[in-house]
């Protein structure tokens, strides 16, 4: 039975990983069609000449960097506060934010922003995308950092306080340094989910604030396109590296 299970597992891993692998291989295909006609970098070169795509890459990086920075700070502080003492309302709303279907999160943020715009002169744009990404990435940061905090010995902080340190000293000089790998892992994960998001982003982005997933979606909607194969391969490779790095840091 265990051999059968091993064979099954191999098939299951192939199912999970082959589609992206095949896509990556065909991104180097010289032909526009699904017939192999030799190795070529033409689709990658085509990407470099696509001004709309390049602008979207910058927008995505900008949004991901900002939302990650804010989510990491807020999420780390929150995890620390929750580690000290649980807070049911806050935990429950984070938990709910993780399981709420993206389309619901997206339309509710859109309705919220539109309601705010009635009273203030404010428009949809990259700033609303950053705020939207914050709403779903904080919970991820809290989970990862809290997992790290559970390995921290609380008596170390007590010792710091007994020796005359302030609560700030206890946090910044005792606990925070030991959390750094976990915080870095949380930031990498927050970055990838922000960089990836399409559903929520497309609802709250303004007309002149297209992100990379929005451009890819537009191209994919019109059908399979070798340029999309190329940009997809770059994204998967790039994010894959970040994820492996995050896992290393988490296990550290």
């Amino acid at each position: 039975m265990s051999r059968l299970l091993g064979l099954y597992a191999a098939a299951a891993f192939a199912f999970l990983h082959l589609p992206l692998l095949v896509l990556a291989i065909f991104s180097f295909n010289d032909s526009r069609f699904t017939v192999w006609e030799g190795f070529s970098l033409r689709w990658y070169r085509a990407l470099l000449g696509d001004a709309r795509l390049l602008e979207a890459v910058w927008n995505s990086l900008f949004v991901a960097l900002f939302s990650t920075l804010l989510a990491t700070v807020a999420g780390t502080l929150c995890a620390y506060g929750l580690w000290k003492r649980a807070d049911r309302l806050l935990s429950a709303s984070m938990y709910l934010s993780l399981v709420t279907p993206e389309i619901v999160t997206g339309v509710s943020l859109l309705a919220f922003f539109q309601w705010i715009f009635r009273s203030f002169d404010f428009r949809l744009g990259l700033h609303t995308v950053i705020l939207a990404h914050l709403s779903f990435s904080i919970a991820y940061v809290v989970i990862v950092v809290l997992a790290r905090l559970r390995t921290v010995d609380p008596s170390l902080e007590e010792a710091a306080l007994d020796l005359g340190g302030t609560e700030f000293d206890a946090f910044f000089r005792v606990t925070l340094p030991s959390l750094l790998p976990g915080i870095a892992a949380a930031a990498l994960l927050a970055f990838t989910i922000s960089f990836d998001d399409y559903v929520i982003t497309s609802l709250v982005a303004g007309v002149d604030s297209e992100t990379l997933p929005m451009v890819i979606y537009g191209m994919a909607r019109r059908g399979v396109n070798p340029e999309v194969n190329a940009v997809s391969s770059i994204i998967v490779t790039g994010l894959g590296i970040l994820i492996v790095l995050a896992e290393r840091l988490r296990e550290d």
Binding site: T34, A74, K84, P101, I103, A220, V236
Partner: protein, 276 residues
Amino acid sequence: MLSLRPLFLAPARLLMGLLFLAPLIIVFVYSFLTRGAYGGQSLPLTAESFARLADPIYLRIVFRSFWIAGVSTVICVLLGFPLALFIARSRRRRNLWLGLVMLPFWTSFLVRTYAWMFLLRDTGLLNTILLSAGLIRGPLPLLYNDFAVVLGLVYGYLPFMVLPVYAALERIDPSLLEAAADLGAAPMTTLVRVIVPLSRPGIVAGAVLVFIPCLGAYLTPDLLGGGKSILIGNVVQNQFTNARDWPFGAALSLAVMAVVMVLLWAFRRGDREGFL
């Protein structure tokens, strides 16, 4: 000792309140407003949007969404359980296998959905291979139907099933399995009568975690269903964009949220081991 704690929680409280709870409240309010002539929404308050949920057109879409999400969840259980069992039984490479399950979850959902478009379309890789091998005469209609949508959902959410089932399997006391074997149970009997019942909390947790995003799916039916396989998520999106009937879109969103909350509530009551 705890005096600074509110200060640490303040940013997250502010952001979650403003960017998650307040928007949900706004949607709640919008669902009771009247749709304006040009797509706006205004008073008076009405329950008309909720009454429209009972319209046979939408009822059919709701029913189909439950059906597609249910089928995808069952397939995820069937595919995910043996994979979790394999990981739980492997000794040395456990972290590697878990990493291989999680890696696709973290890498772009959009790109992974697109990869199936590339494989399944008429001139895609699968049809090309089957045609050139002479196994089929014309391309099989693999893309833009319910089959493609279920495939995409299973592919996308299988990791959500494997992880909790693995966690449940890992907690099973090995001496129970030895006892079953000592008492003469065949490996298959042990699996069906000991391992599966003991891992049930993990299976239920996985099923909840897979069913919820499948029920609210938008991207998968949109790209792999090609407009032919419309689910609740697509209707919600359409009401907030092209149709500009926000009160109705809001009512639909609330209906989805109600299902999500009931599922979570029912599950957490029976979840004594804290899988969620």
